[in-house]
Amino acid sequence: MIYVNYAVAGVVFSLGVFTVLTRRNLVKIVMGLSLMEGSIYVLVISTAYRRGSTAPVLLTPPHGFGERALARGNVADPVLQNIALTAVIIGVAVTAVLLAAVVRVAQHYRTLDADDVRELRG
């Protein structure tokens, strides 16, 4: 049933895209981007999952697992877990920069409506 996770990731990503496309409030646009990020974490962690597997740790495997079973690959995918870790840090950093920019826009233009921020329009 891992496809349910995949589908949820797809739906959440589309919700994020919908938010970015239709909202004009800058904070909500940032929230839409965060939704898209979150869906990627769900997708990556779900892709790393293996049925009946254990954590990718080479130490006292749980009952029923031999030491060899771990090395044969009866574990969750460590590379994808690492990619999720990377994605979380990047997500935090990008969200912080966006929010800082949003606060500045709000202070300069006295609005959060993206449609009112049009000083650069020719």
């Binding site: 589309s14 895209v17 004009r24 049925r51 740790v57 460590p78």
Partner: protein, 311 residues
């Protein structure tokens, strides 16, 4: 039927091309669903790259945790790039959140206007609203008549509480939880399943700082988060990472190669380069995240013209 004053309170949500957005998002969603159906399911064999990480973590780095071996070993170059992405983000937030005036000897709005005010209308008195706002500003800056530390205020003092802190219940709970959390963070980076938890431990350090801030107020964390000092710590972490990975070039033949001697697994020094890299990452992530969060919280009013004042 809403009364006119009620109607004004309901915020109007600005929406842009709702139906176009809905159709596009639905179309994208359908495409994504088709795409994920083609992904391997949870019984597929691990990709060869993951199997290689599992098999080689122990011989290559003497670590029992392949995820750390991937983060700081096999994909060290990626982590290196990511570290500097984080640094770039911290610098961007720092630049964006700074006021345009120079930090030292700036002329505040009030000071700049005081002279003109005394010329044009020397008789004007401070209104009650202005007095209240200025008193509030002084309290926020820590100059008010609030007790020096929240614990100086006797328990049972009637509200409003003037100290920059939560109630005694929250303070006690945080005092009990803080050492546990701090030790858990340090355990993540030094031991865990095996050494190498710099990123999560950095986030735990930020959590500890934020808990102190929430429970005891800004004065309690001010020395910890002073930008001048924390920026230096963060850059020291970044320099250490550059140095550690570059030393691989002369000592082990390639950038980011492990040149630190390997110790037996499950010991403090196991993992070779992984452990020192992860420690430097702890410094970098903890100070970077702290700087970012406090820069965002402390964003002051920028010197922008208020359209209402101009008219």
């Amino acid at each position: 039927m809403t009364r006119p004053d009620e109607r004004e309170l309901v915020s109007r949500e600005p929406v842009h091309r709702l139906w176009v957005g809905a159709v596009l998002a639905l179309g994208l969603g359908a495409g994504l669903l088709l795409a994920v159906l083609d992904l391997p399911d949870d019984t597929a064999p691990l990709p060869s790259i993951a199997r290689r990480a599992m098999v080689e973590a122990l011989p290559a780095f003497r670590t029992t945790e392949p995820v750390s071996a991937v983060v700081y070993g096999f994909r060290a170059m990626d982590t290196f790039g990511e570290t500097f992405l984080l640094l770039a983000a911290v610098v961007s937030v720092g630049l964006l959140s700074r006021t345009r005036e120079p930090r030292h000897g700036f002329i505040g709005e009030e000071k700049a206007g005081a002279e003109e005010q005394s010329r044009s209308d020397p008789q004007e008195q401070e209104t009650a609203q202005q007095r209240e706002a200025r008193a509030g500003e002084r309290v926020e800056a820590g100059e008010g008549d609030s007790p020096a530390t929240p614990d100086d205020e006797p328990v049972g003092t009637p509200a409003p509480e003037r100290a920059h802190a939560m109630t005694v219940v929250t303070r006690l709970a945080v005092r009990l939880a803080l050492p546990l959390l701090a030790v858990a963070g340090l355990y993540l980076v030094t031991q865990g399943y095996s050494p190498g938890g710099g990123f999560p431990a950095g986030a735990v350090v930020l959590g500890v700082v934020l808990l102190v801030h929430a429970a005891f107020g800004y004065p309690a964390v001010r020395p910890l988060v002073r930008p001048g000092r924390t920026e230096a710590v963060e850059l020291a972490g970044a320099m250490a990472i550059v140095l550690l990975l570059t030393l691989g070039l002369p000592l082990a033949g390639s950038f980011a190669a492990s040149w630190v001697p390997l110790a037996p697994e499950q010991s403090l020094r196991s993992g070779g380069l992984l452990q020192v890299f992860s420690l430097a990452e702890l410094v970098e992530v903890a100070s970077g995240l702290t700087l970012t969060v406090f820069a965002l919280m402390g964003m002051q009013h920028d010197w922008a013209a208020d359209p209402e004042d101009e008219s």
